[in-house]
């Protein structure tokens, strides 16, 4: 059924399938064939204690203390949290506060690097023998969802209904424009990905693995298909996804690969599915090979404000200005700096903020690239409705939002919005629909908490 006929069917009341067609966004994958370069160790790193969803960590080290690479420097007693490790060897200069991208204030540990990168003596390859020990090892590694969500992985790998899991989905869609770090991971750390998948599916007792890759990465699809065939990994398969945005969104990916429909507020595990980003699974493989916790990150540096866009492997906590320098310096003055992709990424206040665990790209935009044209009146074209992966009606929600009709917002399912930005992207009047939904969701939450 064509997407349009599907929509009509849904409206006429006999269609239960969502269309999930996605939108076409120019890919801008200029760095895709650039191999990852290990960046020179920075002079200073600023390691935030809040790099994950959940309770922030408390520093384990004091000012003046010597630290080594991989040494835990922050941890928390809370379950939903992940420890934080030193990414360079050197001396803790200061423990201070910085303004985070979300506007709050985060504790950071400032470490002056001795440029020796001495590994911590406590590094050891984990040898778990049970699911419990495996989850414990994952927690010790400091791993969080590297696709962007930064949800502590040990929590995800320990679902309540462990027995009901049947499918592990590896997210290699990388649907955001500009970002190619996941693609580089697929091409460069292929063995770590395969062993990561084997380890996770062994300890979580999952029999089916599906690697979702967008069709704009044919080399990666070919590579994984070849490995699966040659080594007879019959429980694994590659799903070629259409190159449309937002294929990499968890709910869209699950639907595309398994046909299971997931609504907001439902955990993938409840559908028997576990989704891990390709970079997350590659780290699992690497950790069980080397024992080195999460101290560095592959990321794409791109945008018109840097001279030589590149894929870099950088220590966590590196200031963004150092990344720009590693890419040949600024071209002109950056006017907008984005952590993550241009569709869902977050802008930052300054180029001195540090790299976080979940960053997969840092984009330095300037000139036209940094400007969103002013909005005009809605012409009721309905493109936002056709763009929405969940058939929501952003045009109607914007009206309800303007009038602050909170019950109407709820009826229109504003809480189902995942803020993928497709509606804002396609809007010919440049109305910030996605942003209105974001605030609309907060209004609904606030109204609920009052009652």
């Amino acid at each position: 059924m064509s997407p349009f006929a599907g929509k009509l069917a849904a409206l006429a009341g006999f269609g239960d399938k969502q269309h999930l067609r996605g939108i076409h966004v120019q890919h801008h994958k200029t760095t895709e064939e650039q191999e990852t370069i290990a960046m020179k160790t920075p002079a200073m790193v600023y390691i935030s204690m809040a790099q994950h969803i959940g309770v922030p960590c408390k520093p384990l080290v004091a000012e003046g203390e010597k630290v080594a690479v991989g040494q835990p420097i922050g941890d928390s007693d809370a379950y939903v949290s992940a420890p934080i490790h030193a990414s360079v060897s050197g001396t803790v200069e200061r423990i201070s506060k910085i303004r985070s991208a979300t506007g709050g204030h985060d504790t950071v540990i400032e470490i002056k690097s001795d440029r020796k990168q001495t590994p911590w003596e406590g590094i050891a390859v984990p040898q778990p023998s049970s699911h419990e020990e495996f989850v414990h090892a994952i927690r010790n590694s400091g791993l969080v969802g590297l696709g962007g969500a930064a949800f502590p992985t040990h929590v995800k790998y320990n679902p309540k209904n462990l027995d009901q899991l049947d499918t592990l989905i590896i997210n290699g869609a990388e649907c955001e424009p500009f970002i190619t770090s996941d693609y580089r991971t697929m091409m460069e750390d292929t063995e770590d990905i395969i062993s990561g998948i084997q380890i996770v599916s062994k300890f979580l007792d999952i029999e089916r693995v599906c690697i979702g890759i967008e069709s704009n990465k044919p080399k990666a699809i070919e590579l994984f298909n070849k490995i699966i065939q040659e080594r007879e990994l019959s429980h694994m398969m590659v799903s070629t996804l259409p190159s449309t945005y937002p294929q990499g969104a968890e709910r869209v990916l699950i639907y595309e690969t398994t046909g299971r429909t997931m609504n907001a507020g439902v955990l993938p595990a409840e559908l028997g599915v576990l989704v891990s980003n390709i970079a997350t699974i590659a780290f699992v493989g690497q950790y069980f090979r080397t024992g080195m916790p999460l101290v560095s990150k592959k990321l794409t540096v791109d945008g018109t404000a840097v001279k030589k866009p590149a894929n870099l492997k950088v220590p966590i906590g590196t200031p963004l200005s150092d990344l720009a320098e590693a890419c040949g310096g600024y071209r002109g003055k950056p006017e907008k700096i984005i952590m993550g992709g241009p569709m869902m990424g977050r802008t930052v206040f300054s180029d001195s903020v540090p790299v976080l665990k979940n960053n997969n790209a840092i984009l330095f935009f300037t000139g036209k690239q940094a400007v969103i044209p002013a909005d005009t009146h809605c012409i009721r074209c309905g493109r936002c409705f056709y763009a929405c992966p969940f058939d929501l009606m952003p045009f109607a929600m914007a009206r309800a939002y303007d009038h602050r009709e909170i019950s109407e917002l709820e009826r229109l399912r504003v809480m189902q919005c995942m803020e993928c930005g497709s509606c804002s992207f396609v809007c010919p009047a440049r109305i910030p629909l996605s942003f209105m939904n974001k605030i609309g969701k907060e209004l609904v939450k606030e109204a609920k908490s009052r009652t």
Binding site: F4, K7, L8, A10, L11, G13, G15, D16, V25, R94, S96, K97, I98, P177, T261, N263, P319, S321, K333, E335, K336, I337, I338, P342, M343, M344, G345, T347, V348, F349, S350, D351, S352, F365, A370, V371, I372, T376, H377, I379, R380, C381, G382, F385, F390, D391, M393, F395, R411, L412, R413, E419, G421, F425, C427, P428, A429, R430, S434, F435
Partner: protein, 324 residues
Amino acid sequence: MNQLKNKRHMKLTVSSSPHLVTGRSTTWTMGMVALALLPALAASVYFFGPRALTLTAVCIISCVAMEYFFNLVLKREQTAEDLSALVTGMLIAFNVPANFPFTLAIVGCVVAIIVVKQLFGGIGQNLVNPAIAARVVLLVSFPVQMTSWPVPSPMFGSSGVTDAMTGPTPLNLWKQGGDVPPALDLFLGNAGGSLAEVSALALLLGFGFLLVKRVVSPVIPLAFMGTVVLFALLAGEDPLFHLLAGGVVLGACFMATDYVTSPTLPLGQLIFAVGCGLITMAIRLYGNFPEGVSFAILFMNILTPQIERISTRMMVRTYERRGQ
């Protein structure tokens, strides 16, 4: 509190995602519609001579100028450059006879831009299609000038249009029980009528372009024209004649598909378009006027907010059924 210093004192924009937008702006959309109207304009020049061109130019210039000065005087955000006024101007010209007086055409533009569009708040805010409203006002105010149709005389064979060469439209002939021109002439445009409603071929060519460019969805035109054909069949009339004569193709493809004044959701569009088709045929077969397309669209424009309400509720029920 130790705030890290912003070394280069750079000024950064902080905004909510997404940080990219499509190039397909309102201006782009209107530009595409204007391009899609060009084959029909060319056909009208071919059939009615250079006056078709000057009339279109007069309408475009008055509409854009009125939009510009109205915004200027009222200190509103300038919208003259979004090309919507240009499209309105083209459509007004397309809806009047080729020999229509310029002064009266300008009256039509005043109705469209000032009364219907700007007084209701400008682009996106008008209840009815400005060009349709202009046509209806002109038709009831100046019935003589609006119905003295010039006989098409393919270009290069004549010196253009004169008042002496007026004749009835195919729908007039049919209403009076006379012989109607063959369907092929109607399809190509070799029959009397408003400036650009005569050539279905040229209009469909332009509409095909809009479909390919995904500017409009085919629901409204297909349902509108389908209803006309079905109604004609059931009433024992020639369906091809009713489809090709008069303003059905122009109305269905370019006037009823106006985003602002038609429903947004496909289900609403379906209701809207079927309504347009039914009213058109009811007027033609049982009314006083030989043609009913503009009245039909105007009436359904007014009903659009109600249709929108119903179709939005239906969508919410779809969410409920899906457990969303």
